[in-house]
């Protein structure tokens, strides 16, 4: 799905992202873990061609991401509010994203119905613009809009951090189910090693822009992470 060669991004002489090689397969759920400033968000922006790399390249399905647009048709992401159109109501936003992906209003409505539980009655039919929602609810809107397009590659930055406990657990279930049903490739970054080890099939530990450990998911993953983070 994704293959990275010699990717480097630095600001003012400091390497923020520095990845030699990395291969990610379809159907994998990648948990990206690291302390603040490890370069997770910068890495995501590089994946979406929102930042230009200093060296190296990212291939998505075999073609270069930077400067091309094919990847947009099967990639969805939610990094922060910069992905929401703040002066639309959530419904308008969903229809908008749907339309860009050739989904009719009815399709979108059907989709929203299946995720009613996730919304917890706090989003739809509120007659408010997105900018007037709380940060947690904005996150829900962003995540649902990303899922709406049925992407093959889904990128979520810190999805657990801004959600309430119930929604966090629901999200864990959703991610697992989608990856299994549709063989999606999902990349999630998080500080919450608990949730990450529960969801991920593979965990990448990031430090100072480098991927220092590549751990297979499962029970040992949690202990290995605790081990790593305890030292510092």
């Amino acid at each position: 799905m994704i293959s990275i060669k010699n990717l480097k991004k630095s600001y003012k002489g400091i390497d923020v992202v520095d990845i030699d090689t990395l291969e990610i397969q379809a159907g994998e759920i990648i948990g990206l873990v690291g302390n603040n400033g490890a370069g997770k968000t910068t890495f995501f922006r590089l994946l979406l061609d929102l930042i230009r790399s200093n060296e190296g390249e990212i291939l998505s399905k075999g073609s270069v991401v930077s400067g091309t647009e094919e990847w947009k048709s099967y990639t969805a992401a939610y990094i922060d509010e910069g992905f929401l159109i703040e002066f639309l109501t959530p419904e308008e936003y969903f229809y908008f994203v749907g339309k860009l992906n050739h989904l009719s209003k009815a399709d979108v409505n059907d989709f929203l119905q299946t995720y009613e539980a996730f919304f917890d009655d706090s989003i739809l039919n509120k007659m408010k613009y997105i900018r007037d929602f709380s940060k947690g609810n904005q996150f829900k809107i962003g995540i649902i809009a990303a899922l709406l397009t049925a992407p093959e590659l889904l990128i979520l930055d810190e999805p657990f951090a801004n959600l309430d406990p119930t929604t966090q657990l629901r999200l864990v279930d959703m991610i697992k189910k989608m990856a299994a049903d549709k063989r999606m490739c999902i990349i999630v970054s998080s500080h919450d090693i608990n949730h990450v080890s529960e969801v991920s099939s593979r965990i990448l530990l990031m430090e100072k822009g480098k991927i220092i450990r590549d751990i297979a998911g499962g029970e040992t993953a949690y202990e290995e992470m605790v081990d790593y983070f305890k030292v510092r």
Partner: protein
């Protein structure tokens, strides 16, 4: 002061006052009611009867009291965030059949009507439509066609240069999203161009009524219209790819210079006076029709080759894409 407070709360006040002044000027011009005479009557009366001085003093005291009360009543910030209106999802049906491009245009329209700053610009474009009432008659009389042409450019094309100078910056708060949604840049730029065409055509049709003042207005406005669409719109989009500044949509537009740099000033000057100079020279040496036809042909050439030009604009945009994104992320 009172008016300033009020006009911060709603831009309608600001434009209302401009319209009133315009109308009063119009009356003055048409000699229906002359305010110059009225004010001279008032001042001579004061000169003859000094005790009348008391009236302006009383008036200013009243103004002070009104102002004072207004400020007192609006001292607390929570009260300023006044009644919450329910926001209704809406949809521009007529744009539905144009697919993704229609969707992009309807997004732009919502951006304009739901946010203070672009909305004021839209209203301003409407107010400027009235300029013809004020300025056309006198320059028609003196047959200064170049000046008429400048006003026609302003009347027909103000939206393009006003909205267009921040073309991408309007979306700066969600530009990361715009750059990763599923549509290609060519559609994106084309949607912007079509928005220009739509609004400009509307302005042109309304301004058509000025033809009643003198038939020469019509060819002048037609040339200005074709030029605005065929040349100015592309020039504005090109210039917008150099605008890296974040812009807050919710702040008011009047007297707001956020996101405006030297580049924008030079740009708006060039856009207005570049074609005017060409028009002047042609009109001077080859006559009225030579000027009209040349400017129109320039515009029509731009319209005919819009696909090629948009392709080039997309390449220009892509060169600076990351710089724009980076600039918009700095708030």
């Amino acid at each position: 002061m009172y008016i300033k407070r009020k006009s911060i709360n709603s831009s309608w006040w600001f434009f209302g006052i401009i319209i009133i002044i315009t109308i009063l000027k119009g009356f003055e011009y048409l000699k229906i009611i002359s305010f110059e005479k009225a004010s001279s009557v008032i001042f001579t009366a004061i000169l003859h009867h000094p005790w009348l001085c008391i009236i302006p003093v009383v008036l200013s005291v009243i103004t002070f009291m009104v102002n004072n009360r207004y400020l007192r009543n609006h001292l607390y910030i929570e009260e300023l965030v006044s009644e919450r209106k329910l926001k209704i999802s809406s949809n521009y049906r007529f744009l539905d059949k144009y697919g993704e491009i229609g969707e992009m245009i309807s997004l732009d329209l919502k951006l304009i009507f739901r946010n203070k700053r672009p909305r004021s610009l839209m209203i301003l474009s409407g107010v400027i439509l009235l300029y013809g009432l004020l300025f056309y008659p006198q320059y028609l009389k003196t047959e200064s066609y170049t000046t008429l042409f400048i006003f026609a450019l302003l009347i027909v094309g103000i939206f393009i240069s006003n909205y267009g100078q921040f073309l991408f910056a309007w979306q700066s708060s969600h530009f990361d999203g715009i750059m990763s949604y599923n549509f290609n840049m060519k559609q994106y730029i084309k949607a912007k161009f079509l928005l220009f065409v739509t609004v400009c055509t509307l302005q042109f049709l309304i301004a058509g009524f000025y033809g009643l003042m003198g038939w020469r207005i019509l060819p002048i406005q037609l040339a200005a219209f074709l030029y605005s669409i065929g040349v100015n719109s592309f020039a504005t989009i090109y210039a917008a790819t150099f605008n890296y500044k974040y812009l807050d949509l919710r702040k008011s537009a009047s007297m707001n210079f956020q996101g405006i740099g030297a580049v924008q000033w030079v740009q708006s000057l060039l856009i207005m006076f570049g074609p005017a100079l060409v028009f002047y020279l042609l009109n001077r040496f080859f006559g009225f029709w030579a000027a009209i036809v040349s400017i129109s042909v320039l515009g029509m050439a731009g319209i005919a080759f819009h696909d090629l030009i948009i392709g080039w604009l997309v390449r220009q945009f892509n060169i600076r894409k990351h710089k724009i994104l980076e600039g918009f992320r700095e708030r």
